[in-house]
């Protein structure tokens, strides 16, 4: 379970995140939805403890991520914005490296690596260097790497961005499977269809603030739009610019 309460983050004179609060439950997929520049990535970075909020609270399974970032990080699997792979290492070596840093014993790590290679259908590319990988293949490696230590909470920053249909489907099925295993999955997107197809709960974020949250049905109800995309546009305040 991931909790964030009244988190604020400022870069110079720009307030990127302005008092964000929400909870992502175990056994549920929570979507962090917002237009580009809304503060999604900054929010996630505070959740996975590479950024400290200026004020506010972040907890992962009850562990304070601000005071004890490493303890929180041990409970998180993260697919950051831009995958950041090492082009000279193979897919398997990526899992080895991160698994070892997470403190997994080598025999257990080998077993886990095999599982993930099967789960993500990457047997054919497992021992190739990632330098020449396609976007979809790189997504798989980065996702496998995020899951190598079997984390209870999974954070995905725009995981399906730029993927083709088949890869998108593969990622979605993995996300559902993680939910069905009782994990807490939080993923960000700026694509309404993506979120509506997948999420049990949606947090709409705009200009650094949470403007609405709830199930897809609740959001439709709240805004009075049957179409979720219209609801999103209304909630994010995107329609106001068009009228002026």
């Amino acid at each position: 379970m991931i909790q964030i309460a009244n988190a604020r983050k400022q870069f110079g004179s720009v307030t990127a995140v302005d008092g964000v609060s929400f909870v992502a439950q175990d056994g549920a997929i929570t979507g962090l939805l917002g237009p580009n520049g809304a503060g999604k990535t900054t929010t996630l970075r505070m959740l996975y403890a590479v950024m400290k909020p200026d004020s506010g609270e972040v907890r992962v399974d009850g562990v304070d991520a601000v005071a004890t970032p490493q303890a929180a990080q041990a409970r998180l699997g993260v697919l950051p914005d831009g995958f950041g792979l090492y082009p000279r290492l193979t897919a398997r070596e990526h899992l080895d490296y991160f698994g070892a840093l997470q403190g997994i014993e080598s025999d257990q790590l080998a077993k886990r690596t095999e599982e993930l290679i099967d789960l993500l259908d990457m047997r054919a590319i497992a021992d190739r260097r990632t330098g020449g990988f396609s976007h979809g293949e790189r997504t798989k490696v980065a996702l496998a790497r995020a899951l190598v230590h079997d984390p209870q909470n999974v954070l995905l920053d725009e995981p399906t961005n730029g993927l083709d249909v088949m890869s998108t489907r593969a990622v979605r099925s993995i996300v559902r499977r993680l939910r069905d295993q009782g994990r807490c999955v939080l993923f960000s997107s700026h694509v309404m269809q993506e979120v509506s197809a997948l999420c049990d709960s949606i947090v709409v974020i705009a200009a650094g603030r949470v403007v609405a949250q709830g199930t897809p049905d609740e959001l439709r109800h709240q805004t009075g739009y049957q179409n979720l995309e219209d609801a999103f546009v209304a909630l994010a305040g995107l329609d106001q610019g068009a009228h002026e």
């Binding site: 970075r45 996975y48 403890a49 590479v50 950024m51 400290k52 970032p69 490493q70 303890a71 990080q73 041990a74 998180l76 993260v78 950051p80 914005d81 831009g82 995958f83 950041g84 792979l85 090492y86 082009p87 000279r88 290492l89 070596e93 490296y97 991160f98 070892a100 840093l101 997470q102 403190g103 260097r129 980065a142 790497r145 995020a146």
Partner: protein
């Protein structure tokens, strides 16, 4: 304990990663090898010339007219008399011979009657490479003349000493030797540069490069103290630096053996017994340069910028070597306490056959370690800064 393990994991990964960077490996190898090879080439040239002068071939036209001279010449060490070519001047002009001695027809007759007997020395004074040989032949002929005149004086009851109002003793400071010794002073510099260049690639690629690739953020999501990441990268860079120091040292050792420097009157041997002291002198410097490189590269905005800074930093290990050829650096105690200077002075001591005392080694290693520790602290601080992690 856990932090130490994570440090080793990071170190292992960086070493593996950099070993696969073929282009960087070649450029390191090139810069490690180029120094010793250059020295070898220059020394070999010098040694060749020296040997040429020592062993001289004297072609003589008209040998039968001066059998005594030929005999005497053949008895001198390293002199080899051969029959001269028919067209002596042409042979010298076409550089087939360095020098040719011509014994004219009237030599024997004038010699017997104690009149100056003519000898012709055909040489091309515009050729630098044969000058030692020509000089050698000139000196040989003068020596022969002096011996004959002494004999003639004795026969006439005059002491040869009367003919020598001055006793000039030549103290030979051969220019070839000087030049060779000067070239050899660059060996410590090459070893130090090898240490610097060896660690450079990992130190920049694993910091500035890691951020540029976007792999720094996922790396830092792993639950490890920032110190573990920095220390791991630093360790990998240091190890690479030490390996390249060993490589250069072995190369230089092979070189000094191949060149047979003792032939040139130079006492410099790098044997297995020197490897330990050399490493003791340079390894602490590798710790320091790797830490410095990592700190500077972390501060750089991009990989390219980091490389530019490295180009400036490399002056550090070069400066003592360059300065010492202009301005002799003694081995005063304070010199050991300066990070780049200490290892240089230690190296020149070790290579010069003096084994510095333990205090000198400890002083140098201590300062390098202290400076490294401070730099690692700084880099760890940078790794905690969001401005650095996310590239401003």
């Amino acid at each position: 304990m856990r932090t130490a393990r994570q440090t080793l994991i990071v170190c292992r990964k960086e070493l593996r990663d950099s070993l696969r960077d073929r282009r960087a490996l070649w450029s390191i190898l090139f810069s490690v090898v180029i120094g010793p090879v250059l020295i070898g080439f220059m020394m070999n040239k010098l040694a060749d010339r020296q040997r040429d002068a020592d062993a001289v071939r004297v072609p003589i036209v008209g040998m039968h007219r001066a059998p005594a001279l030929v005999n005497w010449l053949n008895q001198q060490a390293g002199v080899h008399v051969v029959e001269g070519p028919a067209e002596a001047e042409k042979a010298v002009r076409e550089q087939r011979e360095a020098v040719v001695v011509i014994v004219p027809d009237d030599f024997a007759e004038r010699f017997r009657s104690s009149r100056p007997a003519p000898l012709q020395l055909v040489a091309d004074s515009s050729r630098n490479d044969v000058r030692p040989s020509v000089q050698r032949v000139q000196i040989l002929l003068q020596q022969y003349a002096a011996e004959i005149s002494s004999l003639r004086l004795i026969m006439r009851g005059v002491s040869p000493a009367a003919m020598r109002p001055l006793a000039i003793e030549e103290i030979e400071v051969s220019t070839a030797q000087q030049r060779a010794a000067q070239i050899l002073t660059f060996i410590p510099m090459f070893i130090m540069v090898a240490g610097f260049v060896g660690g450079m690639q990992i130190a920049t690629d694993s910091t500035a490069g890691e951020r540029e690739r976007g792999s720094l953020e996922p790396l830092l999501v792993n639950p490890a103290p920032r110190m573990a990441f920095v220390a791991g990268k630093w360790m990998a860079a240091t190890l690479a630096a030490v390996v390249s120091v060993c490589l250069t040292t072995v190369l230089c050792a092979q070189l000094t053996r191949l060149l047979r420097l003792e032939d040139m009157g130079i006492r410099l041997e790098i044997g297995p017994q020197h490897v330990g002291p050399i490493l003791l002198a340079v390894a602490p410097m590798c710790l320091f340069t790797a830490a410095l490189q990592a700190a500077v590269a972390t501060l750089a905005r991009s990989f390219k910028e980091a490389q530019t800074y490295m180009g400036v930093l490399i002056l550090g290990p070069m400066l003592p070597g360059v300065l010492s050829s202009l301005y002799p650096i003694g081995n005063a105690t304070w010199t050991y306490a300066v990070p780049m200077l200490g290892p240089y002075v230690l190296l020149t001591d070790v290579l010069g056959g003096r084994v510095p005392d333990t205090t000198a080694f400890l002083t140098s290693a201590g300062t390098c370690l202290l400076a490294s520790a401070i730099l690692i602290q700084i880099t760890t601080g940078l790794f905690k800064s969001e401005n650095i992690i996310f590239g401003r």
